[in-house]
């Protein structure tokens, strides 16, 4: 008789979920990293590119000529902590700008494909298939070989290889949203296609795209590190976590701190962003509710 007294009462939906407790520590980590990157010149103990050949490969905590190498020094006597802080700038800049570029490009193309159908749809979605079938690293190597290495080129390569992810999601979501009566009604009221997509379709698919973007962000950090590791990304002496890993690899047996700390930083950033992404997906995906 009174089998389900709890569910029968119309309780107010729990508002505690407004504070994302589960994702909060990771949010703090990411925000801290962003702040450190922005304030790098203020917080870094020393200049990241100043060499001190007398203090090469010093272990963490070593004090040499008045400078404390908290996380040790690298093969040229540069402070690992300072390079780590400056390296965050590169990682976050590349990840942010490539997500922004590829997200914009992919979302627009996906929406257009779903909205116009016909040959536009065929051209765009087959292009998506083609780009997805080309290995990103191979494409990156070819592009960098042609255009030369560098930060801007890395961003361009990432934008050009990652947009199909967004295009597919935007395409699928737009297909369902475009048939909603409110989009039809707005069309009936004489709205132009630009207004339909921008004011009615985009806001309703933005949640799904945000989920893709957060997950892609972590991947972009790794891609930048990978390209810099291969020597295709940021060029010395600019500090980047990938480049630090790459040089630190040669000294792993004798100076473990050079490769370990950038590796840890990468791990922590990508893990945090992925967990935040999972959380965002749980919040925004109606099916996961």
């Amino acid at each position: 008789m009174n089998a389900q007294p709890q569910s029968a009462t119309p309780t107010k939906p729990a508002r505690s979920s407004n504070i994302p407790w589960a994702a909060l520590p990771f949010l703090i980590i990411v925000i801290a990293m962003v702040l450190l990157a922005i304030a790098a010149p203020l917080v870094a103990p020393v200049d990241p590119n100043t060499q001190n050949l007398l203090a090469r490969l010093k272990a963490p905590g070593t004090v040499s000529r008045g400078v404390t190498y908290i996380l040790g020094s690298d093969e040229l006597g540069r402070d690992v902590l300072s390079r780590l802080i400056y390296g965050a700038r590169i990682s976050l800049f590349v990840a942010f700008s490539s997500v922004l570029l590829s997200g914009t490009l992919g979302s627009i193309l996906g929406m257009i494909a779903a909205f116009y159908r016909g040959w536009v749809e065929i051209v765009i979605m087959r292009l998506v298939d083609i780009v997805l079938s080309v290995p990103a690293i191979l494409f990156a190597i070819i592009t960098v070989a042609v255009m030369g290495p560098g930060l801007v080129n890395v961003v361009i390569v990432l934008a050009l290889t990652r947009w199909p992810r967004y295009a597919r999601v935007a395409y699928g979501q737009t297909l369902s949203v475009a048939n909603m009566p409110y989009v039809r009604l707005s069309h009936f009221m004489g709205a132009s296609w630009l207004r339909l997509l921008g004011r009615h379709v985009l806001p309703n698919i933005a949640g799904s795209l945000a989920v893709v973007a957060t997950l892609e962000f972590g991947l972009m950090v790794l891609f930048e590190a990978g390209l810099s590791f291969l020597g295709l990304g940021v060029q010395p002496p600019t500090a980047s976590w990938g480049a630090m890993l790459s040089t630190g690899r040669n000294y792993v047996a004798t100076a473990w701190w050079i490769a370990t700390f950038p590796g840890l930083a990468l791990f922590l950033l990508v893990l945090s962003i992925n967990l935040i992404g999972d959380h965002v997906r749980d919040r925004l995906d109606p099916k996961a509710r």
Binding site: V183, L185, F188, S192, P203, N204
Partner: protein, 324 residues
């Protein structure tokens, strides 16, 4: 009196070669409510979409003219048609809640066509939208302007949709089953609202429905469609009083009456609507018609004037009154 607001003449629409609307002609004057009735698949919605210039891609207009205020909507460019939609013609339909963007405040959606078509500033648009909300009988329009569709009831959403449709003062409003999703109390309120706004603005209304109760309440004139053709058309009192087409007669006889016997079975029209593309030769109603003769099997009757007023398309219209 000027000419009709909407003048459709000899309109034919086909989908992949199969005719779905066959030579439909109808005219609506300013401030008039014409009700288009018929079963599902008789072509009444397709007629409305053809008027709006919003036929699905597989459908095309084979012949005919759709004149709105003197210009032919069939021959003008898509861009000019888009500029007419919302300004000169507007549409409302069922599913009022789903017809509003869940992520946009109500007021924003109401003022949208004003911004598109009249290019007014956002402050003017806002005050017009608030006025319009008050006009369609939504209390606290200032508050409702900022609210989202989920904060409104179904009836209020339908009122908001009517506000959207009428904010540019269109000449013609097409209402496709506007009250189907609403309960009868709200339904009566919405119909009352539509009539009041018609009186105030002089907007002509093409009301598409299969609810004869709504027709009796709202329409000035009724056009009955069957298998892509108008089979009878007359003022509402005339058509409820006497019918000159057996389909109309049978259709009206199937309506349950409040003063009827409780246990009697409702009459049904035997048979089913013929499939599109498989229409019978002659009069398309002949397989289901109790008065069909030899001529009905071979020759398609055209609309001819009824003896009183209106038109009917039946070879044996004099025998219809004796039915049922």
């Amino acid at each position: 009196m000027t000419g009709p607001v909407l003048d459709v003449s000899d309109l034919s629409v086909s989908i992949r070669g199969n005719t779905v609307v066959d030579g439909v002609s109808l005219a609506i004057g300013a401030g008039e409510i014409l009700s288009l009735v018929g079963e599902s698949g008789c072509g009444k919605s397709m007629t409305a979409f053809a008027v709006m210039g919003l036929l699905p891609k597989v459908a095309k207009i084979d012949r005919g003219r759709v004149e709105l205020g003197g210009s032919d909507l069939v021959s003008i460019s898509e861009e000019r048609r888009r500029l007419l939609r919302g300004a000169e013609l507007a549409m409302i339909f069922q599913e009022p809640i789903a017809s509003l963007n869940p992520l946009m405040p109500i007021g924003r959606q109401i003022e949208e066509s004003l911004i598109i078509h009249r290019g007014v500033s956002s402050r003017e648009a806002k005050s017009a939208a608030i006025d319009m909300l008050a006009e369609v009988g939504i209390p606290e329009p200032q508050l409702r302007y900022r609210q989202y569709p989920f904060e409104l009831s179904g009836g209020m959403c339908q009122r908001a949709m009517i506000a959207m449709a009428l904010i540019c003062r269109p000449k013609l409003l097409i209402a496709d089953e506007p009250t189907t999703a609403l309960d009868v109390t709200i339904q009566a309120q919405i119909l009352e609202l539509m009539k009041r706004l018609r009186d105030e603005t002089g907007t002509a209304i093409l009301l598409i429905t299969h609810d004869m109760g709504v027709v009796a309440d709202m329409a000035d004139r009724v056009a009955v469609m069957y298998s892509g053709r108008i089979v009878e058309e007359a003022p509402v009192e005339t058509i409820f009083a006497s019918q000159r087409h057996p389909y109309t007669r049978l259709l009206l006889s199937t309506i349950p009456r409040l003063d009827g016997q409780a246990k009697t079975e409702l009459p049904v029209i035997e048979g089913t609507v013929p499939d599109i593309g498989a229409w019978p030769a002659g009069c398309r109603f002949n397989p289901r018609c109790p008065v069909a003769g030899d001529k009905c099997l071979t020759e398609l009757p055209a609309l001819a004037p009824r003896p009183d007023t209106g038109r009917a398309a039946c070879w044996h219209s004099d025998r219809v009154e004796a039915l049922v």
